[in-house]
Symmetry: C2
Subunit: 299 residues, 2 copies
């Protein structure tokens, strides 16, 4: 278990992603280094009102503390009260053009320790795609890139993590998935550290090839008020998911994380409308009927 190597790898991943996204956007990322009073810190990089991204946040953080927050120890009561360190890269991109999907990617490593016991470590991560005006071609491309990323780690790895993603990014109060999914995994600590680290590393590396081609395909599509309004409405679901359900957000807020970095995942402009439903036969309805349903996109 080598947290230094993980840190180095995550810092490089953040930088690689930021450089490529800045080139796509035409604007540089703002860069904020911060420290956390209770221990550790991070580097927040973001674009607001960019050429392509209305808001794009790419966070690196390495925090430590005397006691694992409840959101992290809920499934592992034996770790309650352990000291911990958490390392991660987390990004959410909110493009302005409603034809470009929102995307989220995260890789993380947690280490919990208590006196007289060997450290417990685990990895988690994943990426998922949230389109507004969706294209089957994009969903397929994204899922195939996810499958390729996991290919060296077992024949059923992608299908398990794809299902985990569908289960995790689900808004129970709406009976609706957040988007077309992708992959999600947590509590990964088998067969050994090196293999788990390699998996997470590969997921991180495959983010850009999974997303950038979609962005490039859609960024010149013409949109108007109608598409922006539907995007703003659908972004409301993103807010609902992140604030009501998301473990990473709750972990961050509970562990005294840096609020501005944690909530950078929230969309820049959002609208709520009462009991709104898409018109039958409209492109907006297609999102619900053809995309917000479980599908094997990679096939």
């Amino acid at each position: 278990m080598d947290a230094t190597a993980v840190k180095q790898c995550f810092l490089e991943l953040q930088q690689t992603i930021v450089v490529r996204l800045a080139a796509a956007d035409g604007r540089a990322f703002r860069r904020d280094e911060w420290t956390r009073p209770q221990g550790g810190g991070g580097i927040t990089q973001l674009i607001e009102e960019g050429g392509v991204f209305e808001r794009a946040g790419v966070n690196f953080s390495h925090v430590h503390g005397a006691s694992l927050p409840p959101s992290a120890s809920a499934a592992r009561p034996e770790l309650a009260g352990c000291s911990f360190q958490a390392l991660g890269v987390s990004l959410v991109l909110h493009p302005r053009n409603p034809y470009i999907p929102t995307v989220h990617m995260n890789v993380r490593c947690l280490v919990a320790e208590k006196p007289g016991a060997s450290p417990v470590w685990w990895f988690g991560g994943g990426m998922d795609l949230t389109p507004y005006y969706p294209f089957a071609e994009d969903a397929r491309h994204f899922h195939r890139a996810c499958r390729d990323a996991l290919e060296p780690f077992g024949a059923d790895c992608y299908s398990r993590y794809k299902k985990w993603c569908d289960d995790y990014f689900y808004l129970k109060h709406r009976a609706e998935p957040r988007g077309v999914g992708g992959i999600f995994f947590d509590d990964l600590n088998e067969p050994d550290f090196a293999t788990c680290f390699a998996l997470v590393q590969r997921v991180g590396e495959r983010f850009l090839p999974a997303y950038v081609p979609i962005l490039e395909r859609r960024q010149r599509m013409v949109y108007g008020e109608r598409e922006r309004a539907f995007q703003a409405y659908r972004r409301g679901r993103y807010v609902e998911f992140n604030l009501v359900y998301d473990r990473g957000t709750l972990f961050g807020l509970q562990s005294g994380g840096r609020t501005e970095s944690i909530l950078m995942s929230l969309p820049p402009r959002v609208e709520w409308r009462y009991d709104w439903k898409p018109e039958p036969g409209s492109p907006e309805e297609k999102l619900y009927t053809d995309f917000l349903v479980p599908k094997n996109w990679a096939d």
Copy 2:
């Protein structure tokens, strides 16, 4: 304990409020009656894109179920698993003009029952004010109306419920109160049913005189893009509070409530901006320095 009388009273309260607010707005409320598959139902009344209110929702609900949701039994483990009924009126008004504050009011009655034991009942409720461009005169008026509402129920009632409100409507992750407060109470079941019911009834009745004069004072004030942008930004705090902390919202979502009615409390248009701070000496800064701090507004 007479749930029928409470229901009658709450239905009348909803109607009185809706009639007065419709007159203020110049538009009628839309009215949706709904039933809940697991038992009970409600009446949702709202205005969207009205003359004064960008969104105004006034809900009545009477729901029952086989098992009290965790958000309601957390503080009363002896009631876990009890069947329950919950009656309430809940409103949130989001005016368009940023000089008119957002306001929330709620009265509720819960009854929990299990075989072989007498029913346990309690009341809760309150109202609180969330200004964007605040006026001390408005905060004072609102708090004095709250104090008057509670005046027959003991000399220290207002000050206890005022503090409870300050404690409850607090965003820990921002270290910031939601607004200038008001009153909040829960688990009210002493000295007897009649007194508690009378208190809740009076709180409900005093909502209109607490809020409408503020609305009337501010509704013709001229505002522009700057004020709307700050309002949209501050509304983000309202979303954060309601989705991360609010007991009523969690109760509703956990008990299989009607999502569209529960989330009607969310503002219609919201913006998040990274690490935004008001300019020193600006009217926006005044909100933080002079109003988002604990004060004895009624004095």
